[in-house]
Amino acid sequence: MAMNCNPKDEVDGGPPCAPGGAAKTRRPDNTAFKQQRLPAWQPILTAGTVLPTFFIVGLIFIPIGIGIFVTSNNIREIEIDYTGTEPSSPCNKCLSPNVTPCVCTINFTLEKAFEGNVFMYYGLSNFYQNHRRYVKSRDDSQLNGDPSALHNPSKECEPYRRNEDLPIAPCGAIANSMFNDTLELFLVSNESDPTPKPIRLQRKGIAWWTDKHVKFRNPPGEGTLEEKFKGTTKPVNWPNPVYMLDSEEDNNGFINEDLIVWMRTAALPTFRKLYRLIERTDDLHPTLPAGQYFLNITYNYPVHSFDGRKRMILSTISWMGGKNPFLGIAYITVGSISFLLGVVLLVINHKYRNSSNTADTMAF
């Protein structure tokens, strides 16, 4: 809207037109992609599309939840705390033992029989296996059998890296604090002979198959395990070196399953780890019949200094694992909420559709 400006103001900044030929145009191509006209599906989330989904979710989740809950309820589990901090506990004498190793016994009763495979766990509380400096204090290549790492462990293992000028195998705080209580289970039969029957505890099959056969390997070489670990020393707090963890060769050294289970750091400060398996005998008799049992504990592992607690857990397992009502309850809750919301939405949709219909008719 200016008054007639001087045309000498205009200086053409653009490209000059080539005489005769077509000037190079900067116009984008008129393709569907570049002009954003691609064919598309345009869904919208209306009540009509979502209502069936809510009902379906409700109808699917509730039965699943009930199934899981019932399964979980059928799982038998018993927990025996044997820390021994109460003066009345049998293991109280092991808190400050006069004689090592200290052995204590706890009696308990199973109300109902345990059928199928029974799993024996040890549990610890207030033990932060997930502390950052603890978690990184290990050397995976040493545990994988790498000979150079065997004699020269990684710096992450400090201060549990070398002891008396020899490298520690296995190095690190995780290995150093390995759980070393021994638990034994005896059944007191009510019949004539009063001697307690020991329950057979399986040592193998408690660690992940891939851990035992791939991730953890003993160092290579000929000769006995002791020779393979020559030039290293045991972790500071262990009673015996690593090649004396078990008498059987395929459960000794780094591939000892107790060590492998311990090296898998737990997620939370209250955890349990698989200790032994009790295999089912036959289908006629329950694995652990109801009755009196006693637990023999070789109390080596001190936890009272950091207010930790120790316990032994016996549990049966189903397809969904151990006794955990959370998943079942959560499914039932979510299913019912979803169903309820579906009903509410249906009511709202119905009322709204009615009111909009009346508005349309009135408009005419």
Binding site: A2, M3, I44, L45, T46, N324, F326, Y352, F364
Partner: protein
């Protein structure tokens, strides 16, 4: 023969040339706005030409007056000398030149007037109407005289037939004082504003009072002049109050700097609106630079405006698609981008934070470092990138047809605190669901069928898997325009995550110093409760958002949502609609 040129400037609104005719006589020819020529004219048919000019202006023609003067050689020498001195002055050159021009251009003889029909660009009226329907206030700032500008505004439908024009011009201010004029005007508009609804649809209701304000440059400078008694702020406030209640404002006789001044005034007014200035000439450059968004029209008047602008368009009509379609799309896309980025990172980091309460505050990370690094780079980056390039929540033609949809995003509606807090809340809720869902599943029990226990890396991987799936599915729920590219990136990202996890944990990588992730992902997926848990947690996380979307769409639909529903209805149930309308009309009789 051309001797001198006294070049144009917008303050004095005229220009002159000094020529020597073939006979050797020297003439000074001057052309310019009538207001600047008439005072300097001493003879000629002044009244006749003045009335002619007025009539032309009312018809909407651009008028110029031409005058001349004969110079005798001594006068010419004097003129030359003055000009020379002014041109080479080292200080105050502008002022000296202005004084020189002032001295030279006087005692002229009026020759006549010219009138040019400056036709409106095609579809200019359509564009302005669409912008007003979209809730955008349109102001016209021009250097033309009042009559011309008013005629143009009527032609481009800025002022409609029912628009009541209020004038804040020099003429009126000479009659009453500025104070009184302002008060009177504000009373007029504010009287009716109480009965108006908050955002009246301009043009749709005929019984509402539609006000248009005309103000000219001199009046504006009076309002803006700083006064000693501090009343200038009041005048400005009053002026802005009046403007707020008018549907259109026309500012005529504006000098370029005044155009910028008024843009600044609006920018810093109470609501801090976003301003857009569009112009095509060099005198629009200052306002283009001042406004938030400056658009230059590449026109016949050169490229000055286009060069100084943020965006350059070839024609005025392109403004409609630019704002209503492209602007709308970009806003939707960018607001979703911003909100989604904050949301997905809240989902990412909050479980880490919660974990600290359970790991003795030792900063142990919940997820493996590969996951930490690749979350924002590989697993969740492409879906939102392609969303913000391709999303079209309603179609292009619908947006062009219905400018009132623009009101749904007015005043930065999608990036307000309320919306942001909703997204953050959703992120926190989702993070709590992920973390505590996994926590209660893992707490103190095993989830495998062979009794073996999981460790902390499995715990973190479970949380991470649920999280990646949830945030990606949330974006999938928000996408309204599914091209093959969207399908590819969304499902592809999820697939990439799974494949990456399988590979990362499937091999003992020799370059890694730790093997903590070995087989973790595969082992996690091999137990039933993990799958059930993932399914449950994803459902619980997405449920509130779906519910909120459906309820809001049902109970409080915005205009955009209604349009989306209508389009869906129409594309599916075309014949039913016709039948219904026939039947209902039948019923009403």
């Amino acid at each position: 023969e051309l001797l001198e040129v006294l070049s144009f400037d917008s303050v004095r609104r005229r220009m002159s040339v000094i020529v020597r005719s073939t006979a050797g006589e020297i003439y000074l020819f001057c052309k310019g706005a009538d207001s600047s020529i008439f005072p300097r004219v001493i003879e000629g048919k002044v009244d006749q030409i003045r009335s002619r000019v007025e009539r032309n202006a009312v018809e909407g023609l651009r008028t110029l007056c031409v005058a001349y003067k004969r110079l005798i050689p001594e006068e010419y020498e004097g003129v030359c000398g003055l000009l020379q001195a002014a041109k080479v002055a080292l200080q105050d050159r502008e002022k000296k030149l202005a004084e020189a021009y002032e001295q030279i251009e006087k005692d002229l003889i009026l020759l006549g007037a010219t009138a040019v029909e400056d036709r409106l660009q095609e579809k200019a009226a359509d564009t302005i109407e669409a912008l007003q329907k979209a809730g955008i206030k349109v102001w016209v700032l021009t250097g033309d005289k009042m009559e011309t500008a008013a005629a143009t505004c009527y032609a481009c439908r800025l002022f409609r037939r029912g628009t009541q024009l209020l004038e804040l011009t020099t003429k009126r201010i000479e009659e009453q004082s500025l104070h009184d004029v302002l008060f009177e005007l504000s009373k007029t508009v504010l009287r009716c504003s109480g009965s108006l609804t908050r955002d009246h649809f301009s043009g749709l209701s005929t019984d509402m009072h539609d006000y248009g304000l005309i103000i000219d440059g001199a009046a504006l400078s009076l309002i803006m002049k700083p006064r000693e008694d501090g009343s200038s702020a009041n005048y400005r406030e009053l002026f802005l109050d009046i403007c707020r209640n008018c549907s259109a404002v026309l500012c005529c006789r504006m000098a370029p700097l005044q155009k910028a001044q008024i843009v600044k005034l609006i920018k810093f007014s109470k609501e801090h609106p976003i301003t857009l200035a569009i112009g095509d000439g060099a005198n629009d450059v200052s306002m283009i630079l001042e406004a938030h968004v400056g658009i230059g029209v590449i026109g016949k008047e050169g490229r000055q405006a286009a060069r100084n602008s943020d965006y350059a368009i070839p024609k005025f009509k392109h403004l409609k698609k630019m704002l209503l379609v492209h602007g709308h799309f970009y806003y939707i896309r960018i607001s979703e981008l911003v909100q989604y980025f904050f949301y997905k990172n809240v989902c990412f980091i909050f479980p880490q934070f919660l974990y600290q309460f359970f790991c003795g505050f030792s900063q142990q990370t919940l997820y493996d470092t590969a996951y930490l690094t690749l979350y924002n780079i590989s697993f969740t980056s492409l879906p939102i990138l392609l969303y913000s390039l391709m999303e079209q929540h309603v179609g292009v033609d619908v947006l062009k047809r219905d400018p009132s949809l623009y009101r749904d995003i007015a005043k930065n509606a999608l990036l307000r605190w309320r919306v942001f807090i909703y997204w953050t809340f959703l992120g926190v809720f989702d993070a709590l669901v992920f973390f505590f869902g996994a926590y209660f599943m893992f707490e103190n029990t095993t989830v495998t069928s062979n009794g073996q226990m999981f460790g902390n890396w499995t715990f973190g991987t479970l949380v991470f898997t649920v999280m990646v799936f949830t945030v990606t599915l949330k974006l999938a729920l928000d996408t309204h325009y599914w091209t093959w590219i969207n399908h590819f990136v969304i499902w592809g990202s999820l697939l990439f995550y799974v494949v990456f996890s399988l590979l990362w944990g499937g091999i003992i990588w020799p370059f890694l110093s730790y093997q903590r992730m070995y087989y973790v992902f595969i082992h996690m997926l091999s137990c039933g409760p993990a799958w059930l848990g993932i399914l449950l947690l994803i459902t619980v996380s997405l449920l509130p958002d779906i519910l909120k979307k459906v309820l809001c769409r049902q109970l409080w639909p915005t205009a955009t949502e209604r349009t989306q529903a209508r389009n869906q209805c129409l594309s599916v149930e075309q014949p039913t609609v016709f039948m219904l309308s026939q039947t209902s009309s039948g019923l009403s009789f």
